[in-house]
Symmetry: C2
Subunit: 208 residues, 2 copies
Amino acid sequence: MKIHGYRKLGSSRRLAIYLEEKGIEIPFVPVNLMEGEHRTPDFLARNPAGLIPVLELDDGTCIGETVAIARYLEELHPDPPFMGRDPLERARLEMWQRVVEFGVYTQLRAYVRQTSAFAKPLEPVQMPEWGELNKRYAMDSLRMLDAQLANNPFVAGPDFSWADITLATCIQGGRPSNPFELPGTCEHLARWYDQVSRRPSLVATQPD
Amino acid sequence: MKIHGYRKLGSSRRLAIYLEEKGIEIPFVPVNLMEGEHRTPDFLARNPAGLIPVLELDDGTCIGETVAIARYLEELHPDPPFMGRDPLERARLEMWQRVVEFGVYTQLRAYVRQTSAFAKPLEPVQMPEWGELNKRYAMDSLRMLDAQLANNPFVAGPDFSWADITLATCIQGGRPSNPFELPGTCEHLARWYDQVSRRPSLVATQPD
């Protein structure tokens, strides 16, 4: 098996953190987005959506989408369980993972891609106003998550989960040395971030 | 059990179609978004993210997020299987479901919410230019899905799945009588849409 993507960047990093937490070793093969490698026929044959990461099995079968890949690996390596131990727990973890994806990830991604000069090759048209508006929406979601973290050690409850990986990598935005500033009133979120960002899985996948 | 949401609208409808396909009966309880019912303390206690649908169990436990709810119900009602029969099939279905969500659903939702007068109460700031740009991106994704459907009866392969439900409800945009116009060159997508839109589950959940 191999993963097409960057071990220390974006959604590929979410997968790298998951692998560290589970103790699974799979090599990463870089895909040069800035030079458009994700739009070449070779890459599109692996994932027609043109997105990384992609898991390639030994027989050449490819699976795209970070969460689909992680769930596949979870079925091959069920212990220790990372996506819930019973139907209700699995539903709760998936719920919070999606709340983070649709309330923080999408918005901060829009902010970075619509307002950063470096992202210009990835966005046919940049609309900085949309980026700024989405940063505000992300902050609203972070305040909601602060309330959730007032009553729970981690985003989805008592255990570190996939929802925490998604949120932590959003906040670090590919740049753990310069994370997004959290809303000043969010003390529970700050406590959570301080704790999660020190986990060996996050430290081991920090960009150099 | 009950579902807070509209049986014939938006993501709640995705769930209603799933219930029809599986033969599960759960009543829907309307939530008046236009009057801000999703922002009341009562509703936010059920789902802090302020989104419908929400599944409420008999003991009051609530689960938000359409896909999390469907996966929970799938665990209670595994036959006939609707989200894959083995790890690879489950991964493939989840991959395509997400490709549709992040490549078509998000974009067409942005188009409707950023450009329609009726959506004004739901969007603090409307940016029609962003909506129009996203309609173009959705059309790019539909062309990619047309190629997928040239080689597969359904979006994720040989069987009707959750990915088809997501795509069909996107295209119908809550208005089956007036669906989004598909790109003219997409004959395979048109064949698929003609077939899927006639399924009893979609017909039974059509807005009046």
